[in-house]
Protein backbone atom coordinates (compact mmCIF):
# COMPACT_ATOMS: atom_id res chain seq x y z
CA UNK A 1 0.00 0.00 0.00
CA UNK A 2 1.11 3.49 -0.74
CA UNK A 3 2.07 5.66 2.18
CA UNK A 4 -0.53 8.13 3.40
CA UNK A 5 -0.39 11.61 1.97
CA UNK A 6 0.94 14.41 4.08
CA UNK A 7 -2.47 16.06 4.06
CA UNK A 8 -3.56 13.53 6.66
CA UNK A 9 -1.76 15.61 9.26
CA UNK A 10 -4.36 18.31 8.73
CA UNK A 11 -7.46 16.12 8.57
CA UNK A 12 -9.79 17.15 11.39
CA UNK A 13 -11.95 14.07 10.96
CA UNK A 14 -9.32 11.86 12.55
CA UNK A 15 -9.97 11.33 16.21
CA UNK A 16 -9.18 9.08 19.12
CA UNK A 17 -12.15 7.34 20.68
CA UNK A 18 -12.77 4.38 22.99
CA UNK A 19 -12.26 1.04 21.29
CA UNK A 20 -15.40 -1.09 21.05
CA UNK A 21 -16.09 -4.78 20.62
CA UNK A 22 -17.19 -4.15 17.03
CA UNK A 23 -13.75 -2.67 16.24
CA UNK A 24 -11.86 -5.81 17.17
CA UNK A 25 -11.63 -7.44 13.75
CA UNK A 26 -10.11 -4.31 12.22
CA UNK A 27 -7.79 -3.85 15.18
CA UNK A 28 -6.64 -7.46 14.92
CA UNK A 29 -6.04 -7.01 11.19
CA UNK A 30 -3.73 -4.03 11.76
CA UNK A 31 -2.02 -5.99 14.55
CA UNK A 32 -1.36 -8.94 12.23
CA UNK A 33 0.01 -6.67 9.53
CA UNK A 34 2.26 -4.88 12.00
CA UNK A 35 3.86 -7.52 14.20
CA UNK A 36 5.64 -10.79 13.60
CA UNK A 37 4.08 -12.08 16.84
CA UNK A 38 0.71 -10.33 16.99
CA UNK A 39 -1.84 -10.34 19.75
CA UNK A 40 -4.89 -12.36 18.83
CA UNK A 41 -8.31 -10.74 18.53
CA UNK A 42 -9.22 -12.45 21.79
CA UNK A 43 -6.41 -10.74 23.65
CA UNK A 44 -7.86 -7.38 22.60
CA UNK A 45 -11.31 -8.62 23.62
CA UNK A 46 -9.96 -9.51 27.05
CA UNK A 47 -8.36 -6.07 27.33
CA UNK A 48 -11.78 -4.51 26.72
CA UNK A 49 -13.47 -6.82 29.20
CA UNK A 50 -11.05 -6.20 32.06
CA UNK A 51 -11.51 -2.48 31.55
CA UNK A 52 -8.11 -1.49 30.24
CA UNK A 53 -7.96 1.89 28.59
CA UNK A 54 -8.41 0.87 24.95
CA UNK A 55 -8.48 3.56 22.28
CA UNK A 56 -9.01 3.50 18.51
CA UNK A 57 -7.69 6.06 16.04
CA UNK A 58 -10.68 6.65 13.77
CA UNK A 59 -10.45 8.10 10.25
CA UNK A 60 -14.01 8.55 8.96
CA UNK A 61 -15.03 5.17 10.35
CA UNK A 62 -11.84 3.37 9.40
CA UNK A 63 -9.61 2.34 12.27
CA UNK A 64 -6.04 3.25 11.43
CA UNK A 65 -4.40 2.70 14.83
CA UNK A 66 -5.00 1.87 18.47
CA UNK A 67 -3.54 1.93 21.94
CA UNK A 68 -4.06 -0.22 25.04
CA UNK A 69 -3.07 0.78 28.57
CA UNK A 70 -3.66 -0.69 32.01
CA UNK A 71 -4.01 1.56 35.02
CA UNK A 72 -3.47 0.30 38.55
CA UNK A 73 -1.43 0.47 41.70
CA UNK A 74 -0.43 4.03 40.91
CA UNK A 75 1.10 3.02 37.60
CA UNK A 76 0.13 3.18 33.97
CA UNK A 77 1.39 0.37 31.77
CA UNK A 78 1.22 1.05 28.06
CA UNK A 79 0.72 -2.41 26.57
CA UNK A 80 0.28 -1.79 22.87
CA UNK A 81 0.42 1.21 20.58
CA UNK A 82 0.18 0.65 16.85
CA UNK A 83 -0.53 2.62 13.68
CA UNK A 84 -1.37 0.90 10.38
CA UNK A 85 1.46 0.88 7.87
CA UNK A 86 -0.26 3.25 5.43
CA UNK A 87 -0.52 5.89 8.12
CA UNK A 88 2.89 5.88 9.78
CA UNK A 89 5.30 8.79 10.14
CA UNK A 90 2.45 11.27 10.32
CA UNK A 91 2.44 11.84 14.06
CA UNK A 92 -0.47 9.52 14.87
CA UNK A 93 1.56 7.28 17.17
CA UNK A 94 2.59 10.34 19.11
CA UNK A 95 -1.05 11.51 19.31
CA UNK A 96 -2.13 8.12 20.61
CA UNK A 97 0.62 8.08 23.23
CA UNK A 98 -0.08 11.63 24.34
CA UNK A 99 -3.75 10.73 24.67
CA UNK A 100 -2.94 7.69 26.81
CA UNK A 101 -0.53 9.68 28.99
CA UNK A 102 -3.19 12.36 29.49
CA UNK A 103 -5.69 9.69 30.53
CA UNK A 104 -3.15 8.22 32.91
CA UNK A 105 -2.33 11.59 34.46
CA UNK A 106 -6.03 12.39 34.78
CA UNK A 107 -6.60 9.15 36.67
CA UNK A 108 -3.95 10.19 39.16
CA UNK A 109 -1.20 7.68 38.51
CA UNK A 110 2.36 8.91 38.99
CA UNK A 111 4.35 6.88 36.47
CA UNK A 112 3.91 5.31 33.06
CA UNK A 113 5.85 2.23 31.96
CA UNK A 114 6.28 0.41 28.70
CA UNK A 115 8.49 -2.19 27.05
CA UNK A 116 9.95 -1.99 23.58
CA UNK A 117 12.12 -4.22 21.43
CA UNK A 118 15.67 -2.87 21.05
CA UNK A 119 15.24 -3.40 17.30
CA UNK A 120 12.26 -1.00 17.14
CA UNK A 121 14.34 2.16 16.75
CA UNK A 122 11.52 4.39 15.50
CA UNK A 123 9.42 3.58 18.55
CA UNK A 124 12.34 4.11 20.94
CA UNK A 125 13.03 7.53 19.44
CA UNK A 126 9.36 8.49 19.84
CA UNK A 127 9.26 7.33 23.46
CA UNK A 128 12.40 9.31 24.24
CA UNK A 129 10.96 12.43 22.65
CA UNK A 130 7.91 12.00 24.87
CA UNK A 131 10.11 11.93 27.95
CA UNK A 132 10.47 8.21 28.58
CA UNK A 133 13.77 7.03 30.05
CA UNK A 134 15.27 3.60 30.15
CA UNK A 135 15.12 1.99 33.58
CA UNK A 136 16.09 -1.57 32.73
CA UNK A 137 16.18 -4.56 30.43
CA UNK A 138 14.03 -7.67 30.58
CA UNK A 139 16.14 -10.49 29.16
CA UNK A 140 14.47 -12.70 26.55
CA UNK A 141 11.11 -10.99 27.04
CA UNK A 142 9.87 -11.15 23.45
CA UNK A 143 9.49 -13.97 20.95
CA UNK A 144 11.74 -13.44 17.96
CA UNK A 145 12.28 -15.33 14.71
CA UNK A 146 15.65 -16.62 15.98
CA UNK A 147 14.77 -17.28 19.61
CA UNK A 148 14.09 -14.49 22.09
CA UNK A 149 14.62 -10.76 22.11
CA UNK A 150 15.18 -8.52 25.14
CA UNK A 151 12.80 -5.76 26.15
CA UNK A 152 13.96 -2.29 27.04
CA UNK A 153 11.85 -1.01 29.94
CA UNK A 154 11.04 2.69 29.78
CA UNK A 155 9.46 4.93 32.38
CA UNK A 156 8.07 8.43 32.45
CA UNK A 157 6.95 10.44 35.46
CA UNK A 158 3.50 11.89 35.05
CA UNK A 159 3.56 14.35 37.94
CA UNK A 160 5.09 17.62 36.77
Amino acid sequence: MAAAPEVLREVPEIHIRPMMEIDLSEVALIEQQSYAFPWSENIFRDCLRVGYTCRALDLAGRIIGYGVMSLGAGEAHILNVCVGDEFRNLGFGRRLLEHLLERAAASGVAEAFLEVRPSNLAAIRLYQRLGFEQIGIRRGYYQAPDGREDAIVLKRDLKT
Binding site: P5, E13, I14, L59, A60, G61, R62
Partner: protein, 255 residues
Protein backbone atom coordinates in the same frame (compact mmCIF):
# COMPACT_ATOMS: atom_id res chain seq x y z
CA UNK B 1 -52.12 41.80 -2.07
CA UNK B 2 -52.25 40.12 -5.43
CA UNK B 3 -51.16 36.47 -5.08
CA UNK B 4 -48.51 36.82 -7.78
CA UNK B 5 -46.99 39.79 -6.00
CA UNK B 6 -47.12 37.94 -2.70
CA UNK B 7 -45.50 34.91 -4.26
CA UNK B 8 -42.78 37.05 -5.74
CA UNK B 9 -42.10 38.57 -2.32
CA UNK B 10 -41.91 35.11 -0.75
CA UNK B 11 -39.58 34.00 -3.49
CA UNK B 12 -37.42 37.09 -3.02
CA UNK B 13 -37.23 36.31 0.69
CA UNK B 14 -36.22 32.72 -0.09
CA UNK B 15 -39.36 31.34 1.58
CA UNK B 16 -40.73 28.13 0.12
CA UNK B 17 -44.34 28.26 -0.95
CA UNK B 18 -46.48 25.35 0.12
CA UNK B 19 -49.23 24.37 -2.24
CA UNK B 20 -51.85 21.61 -2.10
CA UNK B 21 -50.68 18.34 -3.63
CA UNK B 22 -53.43 18.47 -6.27
CA UNK B 23 -52.71 22.06 -7.28
CA UNK B 24 -51.63 22.69 -10.88
CA UNK B 25 -47.89 22.17 -11.18
CA UNK B 26 -45.59 25.12 -10.68
CA UNK B 27 -43.25 24.04 -13.39
CA UNK B 28 -45.64 25.34 -15.99
CA UNK B 29 -44.76 28.87 -15.03
CA UNK B 30 -42.59 30.41 -17.69
CA UNK B 31 -40.70 33.44 -16.55
CA UNK B 32 -39.51 36.15 -18.89
CA UNK B 33 -35.78 36.52 -19.34
CA UNK B 34 -35.76 39.56 -17.06
CA UNK B 35 -36.96 37.44 -14.13
CA UNK B 36 -34.30 34.79 -14.62
CA UNK B 37 -31.32 36.95 -13.94
CA UNK B 38 -29.11 36.49 -10.93
CA UNK B 39 -30.00 39.92 -9.59
CA UNK B 40 -29.77 40.21 -5.82
CA UNK B 41 -32.90 38.87 -4.19
CA UNK B 42 -33.86 42.20 -2.69
CA UNK B 43 -34.22 43.67 -6.16
CA UNK B 44 -36.12 40.76 -7.66
CA UNK B 45 -38.25 42.09 -10.49
CA UNK B 46 -41.53 41.82 -8.67
CA UNK B 47 -43.58 43.77 -11.16
CA UNK B 48 -42.33 41.67 -14.07
CA UNK B 49 -43.53 38.39 -12.64
CA UNK B 50 -46.18 37.20 -15.07
CA UNK B 51 -49.43 35.55 -14.19
CA UNK B 52 -49.05 31.80 -14.15
CA UNK B 53 -50.43 30.23 -17.31
CA UNK B 54 -52.61 27.69 -15.61
CA UNK B 55 -53.60 25.00 -15.90
CA UNK B 56 -50.92 23.47 -18.06
CA UNK B 57 -49.27 20.10 -17.79
CA UNK B 58 -45.75 20.29 -16.35
CA UNK B 59 -43.28 21.07 -19.06
CA UNK B 60 -39.83 19.79 -18.26
CA UNK B 61 -37.45 21.83 -20.30
CA UNK B 62 -34.21 20.10 -19.66
CA UNK B 63 -31.35 22.03 -21.20
CA UNK B 64 -29.83 20.71 -24.37
CA UNK B 65 -26.32 19.92 -23.29
CA UNK B 66 -23.58 19.58 -25.83
CA UNK B 67 -20.72 18.00 -23.95
CA UNK B 68 -17.98 19.22 -26.22
CA UNK B 69 -15.41 20.08 -23.62
CA UNK B 70 -15.16 20.98 -19.96
CA UNK B 71 -14.87 24.72 -20.57
CA UNK B 72 -18.00 24.91 -22.71
CA UNK B 73 -19.94 22.78 -20.27
CA UNK B 74 -18.80 24.89 -17.35
CA UNK B 75 -19.95 28.06 -19.13
CA UNK B 76 -23.28 26.54 -19.99
CA UNK B 77 -23.88 25.54 -16.38
CA UNK B 78 -22.83 28.96 -15.10
CA UNK B 79 -25.41 30.63 -17.34
CA UNK B 80 -28.19 28.10 -16.76
CA UNK B 81 -31.72 29.34 -16.13
CA UNK B 82 -33.52 26.05 -16.69
CA UNK B 83 -35.19 26.10 -13.29
CA UNK B 84 -36.16 28.57 -10.61
CA UNK B 85 -33.07 27.87 -8.51
CA UNK B 86 -31.12 30.22 -10.73
CA UNK B 87 -32.97 33.10 -9.10
CA UNK B 88 -31.86 32.32 -5.57
CA UNK B 89 -28.36 30.99 -6.16
CA UNK B 90 -25.26 33.06 -5.56
CA UNK B 91 -23.48 31.04 -8.20
CA UNK B 92 -23.61 27.62 -9.79
CA UNK B 93 -21.51 24.84 -8.30
CA UNK B 94 -20.18 22.97 -11.28
CA UNK B 95 -18.03 20.41 -9.55
CA UNK B 96 -14.37 20.18 -8.75
CA UNK B 97 -11.43 17.88 -9.11
CA UNK B 98 -9.30 16.02 -11.53
CA UNK B 99 -10.97 15.89 -14.95
CA UNK B 100 -8.99 12.72 -15.66
CA UNK B 101 -10.09 11.04 -12.45
CA UNK B 102 -11.19 7.42 -12.33
CA UNK B 103 -13.47 8.23 -9.41
CA UNK B 104 -16.57 10.39 -9.61
CA UNK B 105 -18.20 11.28 -6.30
CA UNK B 106 -21.77 12.51 -6.56
CA UNK B 107 -23.66 14.34 -3.85
CA UNK B 108 -27.02 15.99 -3.63
CA UNK B 109 -26.90 19.76 -4.09
CA UNK B 110 -24.90 22.75 -2.91
CA UNK B 111 -25.55 24.02 0.60
CA UNK B 112 -25.13 27.56 1.84
CA UNK B 113 -21.33 27.42 2.03
CA UNK B 114 -21.02 25.69 -1.34
CA UNK B 115 -23.31 28.33 -2.88
CA UNK B 116 -21.01 31.01 -1.46
CA UNK B 117 -17.75 29.41 -2.54
CA UNK B 118 -18.87 27.80 -5.79
CA UNK B 119 -17.29 24.48 -4.81
CA UNK B 120 -19.03 21.27 -3.71
CA UNK B 121 -18.46 19.71 -0.30
CA UNK B 122 -16.81 22.50 1.61
CA UNK B 123 -17.38 22.92 5.32
CA UNK B 124 -17.54 20.09 7.84
CA UNK B 125 -19.34 17.62 5.59
CA UNK B 126 -16.68 18.29 2.99
CA UNK B 127 -13.92 17.64 5.50
CA UNK B 128 -15.53 14.35 6.41
CA UNK B 129 -15.87 13.44 2.72
CA UNK B 130 -12.17 14.21 2.29
CA UNK B 131 -11.39 11.95 5.24
CA UNK B 132 -13.61 9.18 3.84
CA UNK B 133 -11.73 9.39 0.56
CA UNK B 134 -8.36 9.43 2.31
CA UNK B 135 -9.35 6.29 4.17
CA UNK B 136 -9.26 4.51 0.80
CA UNK B 137 -6.11 6.30 -0.23
CA UNK B 138 -7.69 9.00 -2.39
CA UNK B 139 -6.78 12.63 -1.66
CA UNK B 140 -9.63 14.93 -2.69
CA UNK B 141 -7.74 16.35 -5.65
CA UNK B 142 -7.41 12.90 -7.24
CA UNK B 143 -11.17 12.46 -7.72
CA UNK B 144 -13.91 14.50 -9.34
CA UNK B 145 -16.74 15.69 -7.12
CA UNK B 146 -20.10 16.88 -8.43
CA UNK B 147 -23.69 17.15 -7.30
CA UNK B 148 -27.04 16.13 -8.77
CA UNK B 149 -28.06 19.80 -8.67
CA UNK B 150 -25.70 22.61 -9.62
CA UNK B 151 -27.66 25.24 -7.69
CA UNK B 152 -28.58 25.47 -4.04
CA UNK B 153 -32.20 24.74 -3.16
CA UNK B 154 -33.32 27.51 -0.79
CA UNK B 155 -33.21 26.47 2.84
CA UNK B 156 -31.46 23.23 1.87
CA UNK B 157 -34.77 21.59 1.03
CA UNK B 158 -34.74 18.39 -1.02
CA UNK B 159 -34.45 18.96 -4.76
CA UNK B 160 -37.78 18.94 -6.60
CA UNK B 161 -38.22 16.33 -9.35
CA UNK B 162 -38.39 18.96 -12.09
CA UNK B 163 -35.20 20.58 -10.82
CA UNK B 164 -33.46 17.24 -10.94
CA UNK B 165 -34.73 16.40 -14.41
CA UNK B 166 -33.58 19.76 -15.75
CA UNK B 167 -30.17 19.54 -14.10
CA UNK B 168 -29.31 15.89 -14.72
CA UNK B 169 -28.23 16.50 -18.34
CA UNK B 170 -25.29 18.46 -16.94
CA UNK B 171 -24.21 15.58 -14.75
CA UNK B 172 -24.65 13.20 -17.68
CA UNK B 173 -22.42 15.46 -19.76
CA UNK B 174 -19.83 15.51 -16.96
CA UNK B 175 -19.93 11.72 -16.84
CA UNK B 176 -19.55 11.54 -20.62
CA UNK B 177 -16.48 13.78 -20.48
CA UNK B 178 -14.91 12.19 -17.42
CA UNK B 179 -15.61 8.55 -18.29
CA UNK B 180 -15.14 7.49 -14.67
CA UNK B 181 -14.21 3.91 -13.87
CA UNK B 182 -16.36 4.05 -10.74
CA UNK B 183 -19.03 6.32 -9.30
CA UNK B 184 -19.68 6.81 -5.61
CA UNK B 185 -23.05 8.32 -4.73
CA UNK B 186 -23.23 9.79 -1.24
CA UNK B 187 -26.65 10.12 0.32
CA UNK B 188 -30.20 9.16 -0.44
CA UNK B 189 -30.95 11.94 -2.93
CA UNK B 190 -27.99 11.19 -5.16
CA UNK B 191 -28.56 7.44 -5.00
CA UNK B 192 -32.29 7.58 -5.69
CA UNK B 193 -31.94 9.96 -8.61
CA UNK B 194 -29.08 8.10 -10.25
CA UNK B 195 -30.91 4.81 -9.90
CA UNK B 196 -34.39 6.21 -10.59
CA UNK B 197 -35.77 4.53 -7.52
CA UNK B 198 -37.41 5.54 -4.27
CA UNK B 199 -35.87 2.68 -2.30
CA UNK B 200 -34.37 3.76 1.02
CA UNK B 201 -30.63 4.20 1.21
CA UNK B 202 -30.29 1.23 3.56
CA UNK B 203 -31.47 -1.01 0.71
CA UNK B 204 -29.29 0.63 -1.93
CA UNK B 205 -25.97 0.51 -0.13
CA UNK B 206 -23.93 -2.66 0.23
CA UNK B 207 -24.52 -3.83 -3.34
CA UNK B 208 -23.11 -3.03 -6.71
CA UNK B 209 -25.15 -0.93 -9.14
CA UNK B 210 -24.33 0.23 -12.63
CA UNK B 211 -25.02 3.53 -14.30
CA UNK B 212 -25.67 4.64 -17.85
CA UNK B 213 -24.67 3.32 -21.21
CA UNK B 214 -21.10 2.76 -20.10
CA UNK B 215 -22.41 0.51 -17.34
CA UNK B 216 -20.16 2.32 -14.90
CA UNK B 217 -19.96 0.61 -11.48
CA UNK B 218 -21.91 2.66 -8.95
CA UNK B 219 -21.55 2.27 -5.19
CA UNK B 220 -23.85 3.94 -2.69
CA UNK B 221 -22.97 5.18 0.77
CA UNK B 222 -24.12 7.67 3.37
CA UNK B 223 -23.86 11.40 2.95
CA UNK B 224 -21.11 12.84 5.16
CA UNK B 225 -23.58 15.37 6.60
CA UNK B 226 -25.66 12.43 7.81
CA UNK B 227 -22.55 10.75 9.24
CA UNK B 228 -21.76 13.92 11.18
CA UNK B 229 -25.16 13.56 12.85
CA UNK B 230 -24.91 9.78 13.16
CA UNK B 231 -21.23 8.93 13.73
CA UNK B 232 -22.11 5.33 14.65
CA UNK B 233 -22.85 4.71 10.97
CA UNK B 234 -19.34 5.75 9.92
CA UNK B 235 -18.30 2.14 10.24
CA UNK B 236 -20.91 1.13 7.68
CA UNK B 237 -19.68 3.93 5.43
CA UNK B 238 -16.17 2.48 5.74
CA UNK B 239 -17.56 -0.92 4.70
CA UNK B 240 -19.10 0.78 1.65
CA UNK B 241 -15.82 2.49 0.82
CA UNK B 242 -13.88 -0.78 1.09
CA UNK B 243 -16.47 -2.30 -1.23
CA UNK B 244 -16.02 0.61 -3.65
CA UNK B 245 -12.24 0.27 -3.49
CA UNK B 246 -12.46 -3.45 -4.27
CA UNK B 247 -14.95 -2.77 -7.06
CA UNK B 248 -12.62 -0.16 -8.53
CA UNK B 249 -9.67 -2.55 -8.33
CA UNK B 250 -11.65 -5.09 -10.34
CA UNK B 251 -12.90 -2.50 -12.85
CA UNK B 252 -9.45 -0.98 -13.34
CA UNK B 253 -7.93 -4.44 -13.64
CA UNK B 254 -10.17 -5.43 -16.52
CA UNK B 255 -9.56 -2.28 -18.57
Amino acid sequence: MDSNVRNAYLEALGIDRWVPRDAPPESAVVLPESARTNAPRARAPVADTPAPKLPVAPVVRAPVVAAGDWGALREQVAACTACELCKTRTQTVFGVGNTRADWLVIGEAPGAEEDRQGEPFVGRAGQLLNAMLLAIGLPRETVFIANILKCRPPGNRDPKPEEVSRCLPYLSAQIALLKPKIMLAVGRIAAQNLLATDAPLARLRGKLHHFGEANTPLVITYHPAYLLRTPSDKRKAWEDLKFARATYARAAGTN
